[in-house]
């Protein structure tokens, strides 16, 4: 499971450079930018689900919060960089508070799923009714259904007239994707990361070892929220408008599809899943023969039935039999342990 750190950094950077030069030859950078942003969002869910064992049905909430945090603070500050960091910190703090509430209440499984879903729905509904003049944060009108357009986008810190836009926004987003990926890999290798995996594997045992599982999960959730927020803030820069649809059920569903298709339990899988599905969606948008939602749905159903581990682990298995930790097919756990084991069986 653990490749040496330096080797991994070098591999990631080389692969990253190759992709950064290669991809724009085939696909326009505007699309690539949004694929990188989706990949970051997928990565955030892949991290908390695959490694923290927290299945969040409302990851879009933190994506949307990041985008709104960016837009609102960019209008108020008039400069892009403070908002850029706020868009990471605010969702992370909100995730910590909300996650803390859930995990300290010892909510699990389907109950966790329903509450994260409800959380997104509340934000979605709330943001949709903020069209009135009374909904203002500082100088920023929340705008309701129409969202917030017209905020300052990222520019060079030393030259505010030079916008990070077009190709450079792609390179910026792609670099951040690599940095976050490496950062999360590093985190997983750290003692905290191992405890986190321990918690995913067996919460009770982690507790009996003396780890405060609630705290660990809250921290993991907050990190996931921060990464999703980052992705949301990049999205705001890309789209130059934020709307309540960022919080929609569909957005949350898509993230889960990316992770499932790419492979939960890996970090690279969700990135791959997001890129593939995002591009597929884009391609589907250019034809009108078959409905796009239908294809996405069919992909998800087939992925769950045929490739429950996702594409990436299957590819890795095909290429090298050794080196990747394969899960032995889990036997039916004894009755008493079924609930606890359930999550693992599902990955």
């Amino acid at each position: 499971m653990i490749v040496s750190g330096a080797k991994e950094i070098i591999t990631t950077v080389i692969v990253g450079l190759v992709l950064a030069y290669g991809l724009p030859l085939g696909i326009d950078t505007f699309t690539l930018t949004v694929l990188s942003i989706y990949a970051l969002l997928g990565l955030s869910l892949g991290f908390i689900w695959g490694f923290g064992g927290i299945l969040c049905f409302g990851q879009a909430a933190f994506f949307g919060l990041g985008a709104y945090a960016y837009a609102i603070s960019a209008i108020n500050f008039g400069t892009p960089w403070i908002p850029f960091f706020l868009a990471i910190i605010i969702p992370a703090i909100i995730a910590a508070i909300f996650g803390g509430m859930l995990f300290f209440g010892r909510l699990n499984d389907v109950y966790l799923a329903v509450l994260t879903l409800v959380f997104t729905l509340i934000l979605y509904k709330f943001m949709n009714v903020t069209a009135g003049e009374e909904y203002v944060i500082g100088k920023a009108r929340l705008g309701g259904y129409n969202g917030i357009p017209g905020f300052e986008t990222l520019s060079l810190p030393w030259d505010p007239s030079e916008y990070i836009y077009g190709d450079s926004l792609f390179y910026f987003s792609f670099t951040l994707l690599l940095v976050v990926y490496l950062g999360l890999r590093w985190l997983l290798r750290s003692p905290f990361g191992r405890v986190m995996i321990g918690v995913r594997e067996n919460e009770l045992r982690a507790e009996l070892m003396g780890y405060d599982v609630r705290l660990v999960k809250t921290a993991v959730f907050a990190i996931g929220g921060g990464v999703a927020g980052l992705s949301g803030s990049l999205y705001a820069n890309w789209a130059e408008i934020v709307t309540p649809n960022l919080f929609s059920l569909g957005q949350s569903a898509e993230v889960i599809i990316w992770v499932i298709v790419g492979g939960a339990g890996t970090l690279f899988g969700p990135i791959l899943g997001a890129a593939i599905m995002g591009y597929l969606k884009f391609l589907l948008g250019q034809q009108s023969l078959i409905d796009n939602t239908l294809v996405l749905g069919a992909v998800l159903v087939l992925a769950v039935l045929l490739l429950p581990r996702g594409i990436f682990p299957v590819i890795v298995d095909a290429f090298k039999r050794r080196g990747w930790k394969r899960r032995a097919p889990a036997n039916r756990p004894p009755r008493g342990r079924r609930r606890r084991r359930e999550r693992r069986d599902e990955q």
């Binding site: 326009d28 505007f30 699309t31 949004v34 509904k125 949709n128 009714v129 069209a131 009135g132 003049e133 009108r141 705008g143 309701g144 259904y145 129409n146 969202g147 357009p149 017209g150 890309w238 789209a239 130059e240 408008i241 709307t243 649809n245 884009f282 948008g285 250019q286 009108s288 409905d291 796009n292």
Partner: protein, 406 residues
């Protein structure tokens, strides 16, 4: 004429290159009209007929000899009712396809998503949709009807007919909020009063408690600016409670997507509306338009206000370009600002040079037997709402969407 050496070299090189690529020559000769609409997803009810309108208008213009001798070519993208795709496809239209004009956008959010892109790339933009008004930007022409144009004629008519106490129901977003303000404004001017305004997000489909509240308030009429499929339930539940027999209703939105056909006769009859278009308009231009549409697409059932606005927006742009003798943005804008008008299915429409909105006829119609029957027509109404905030001849660099304070 002095020939700049560099230009000359560039010119000959380009000509040389073109000789090997005959397609490029042809493509350069056509005028590219970008169209960006939701022709799938939840807004396709609006987008599909608008897309047809673009096609029909292009065919007509080409049949009449094109613009400055050049034919038009449609470059269309389906944004699938997804706001993110708007920016994506707008980039594609301006950077890859390098279109000469963009018509499209349905929701205000979609317009605001692409407006900066089109402005930055100096691509002329036509937004052909009934909307809340207030956009003040020299790069955009908004050819749809705005709330004041409707409220100005509808409110006094309804007050005279039904009484003074008005209960407003509106969709909870910019359009609904602003429309409600204009309704209230004109109610005040005509001696009426608004007893209550309720706003509903677009996905609210249950109006039971609202209907009870309305009865408690006992108004003389309902003014509705409800929008979209979920809100259609209101009219149904209103009729189910038997209220349509007791309290009459007027609306600035019902029918824009042909909703009068979805409602039954019992549910829809008697509702008053104000639009620039109705299929029942008795004008030769309208009859000709309906006949052409029938011939081209087989049925006129799907035509609605927005499709007609798109059709007229295309022709208005073409008239400007023909007058300018070019499709170059600045020339077309100047030509249109000089006061171009066309006569379309709705009657005469003229560009208001100060606001880039249109002066149009407005008709009060009454829903009857699933049709929009014209009861009274008002000629050449100014876009008074946008005019209160916007003067592009004085401030040509303005790009704001104003929220109009009344």
């Amino acid at each position: 004429m002095k020939i700049d050496r560099r230009k000359f070299v560039a010119g000959t090189t380009a000509a040389g290159a073109m000789a090997f690529m005959p397609n490029v020559v042809q493509a350069a000769a056509t005028i590219k009209v970008g169209s960006i609409l939701d022709t799938s997803g939840i807004f396709d009810l609006y987008g599909k007929p608008m897309d047809k309108a673009v096609t029909l208008a292009i065919e007509e213009i080409n049949a009449a000899g094109g613009i400055a001798g050049r034919r038009l070519e449609k470059v269309a993208y389906d944004t699938q009712s997804n706001m993110a795709l708007y920016t994506q496809f707008a980039q594609k239209l301006t950077r890859q396809d390098k279109v000469d004009v963009v018509h499209g956008g349905i929701l205000s959010a979609s317009r605001e998503a692409i407006r900066p892109t089109l402005r930055k790339s100096k691509t002329l933009y036509f937004y052909n949709v009934q909307y809340e008004g207030g956009v003040c930007d020299r790069n955009i022409f908004a050819t749809g009807i705005t709330p004041a144009q409707q409220a100005e004629v509808l409110v006094p008519y309804a007050i005279e007919k039904w009484g003074k106490k008005i209960y407003i129901l509106a969709a909870d977003y910019n359009y609904g909020q602003i429309t409600a303000k204009w309704l209230e404004h004109y109610a005040g001017q005509n001696g009426g009063s608004v007893v209550q305004s309720d706003f509903f997000p677009l996905d609210v489909a249950d109006f039971g408690s609202t209907i009870a509240k309305i009865q408690e308030a006992a108004p003389d009429m309902i003014m509705s600016a409800l929008v979209g499929g979920a809100h259609l339930s209101f009219y149904r539940q209103w009729a189910a409670a038997g209220m349509n027999k007791k309290i009459p209703m007027a609306s600035t939105t019902l029918g824009a997507g042909n909703e009068q056909v979805v409602l039954t006769k019992e549910e829809g009859d008697g509702i008053l509306l104000a639009y620039s278009f109705s299929k029942e308009l008795d004008r030769p231009e309208n009859k000709a338009f309906l006949a052409k549409w029938q011939e081209r697409f087989g049925s006129t059932d799907d035509i609605h206000e927005l499709a007609v606005a798109t059709y007229q927006g295309m022709h208005l742009w073409a008239a400007g370009a023909i007058k300018a003798g070019s499709v170059e943005r600045d020339k077309v804008v100047e030509a249109l600002e000089s006061g171009v008008s066309i006569v379309g299915p709705t009657g005469k429409i003229t560009v208001d040079p100060k606001t880039h909105h249109v002066i149009t006829d407005v008709h009060i119609v009454e829903v009857g037997d699933q049709k929009m029957n014209v009861v009274k027509s008002f000629d050449q109404r100014q876009p008074v709402d946008t005019q209160t905030v916007c003067d592009l001849s004085a401030n040509p660099n303005d790009t704001t969407q104003y929220e109009i304070k009344i």
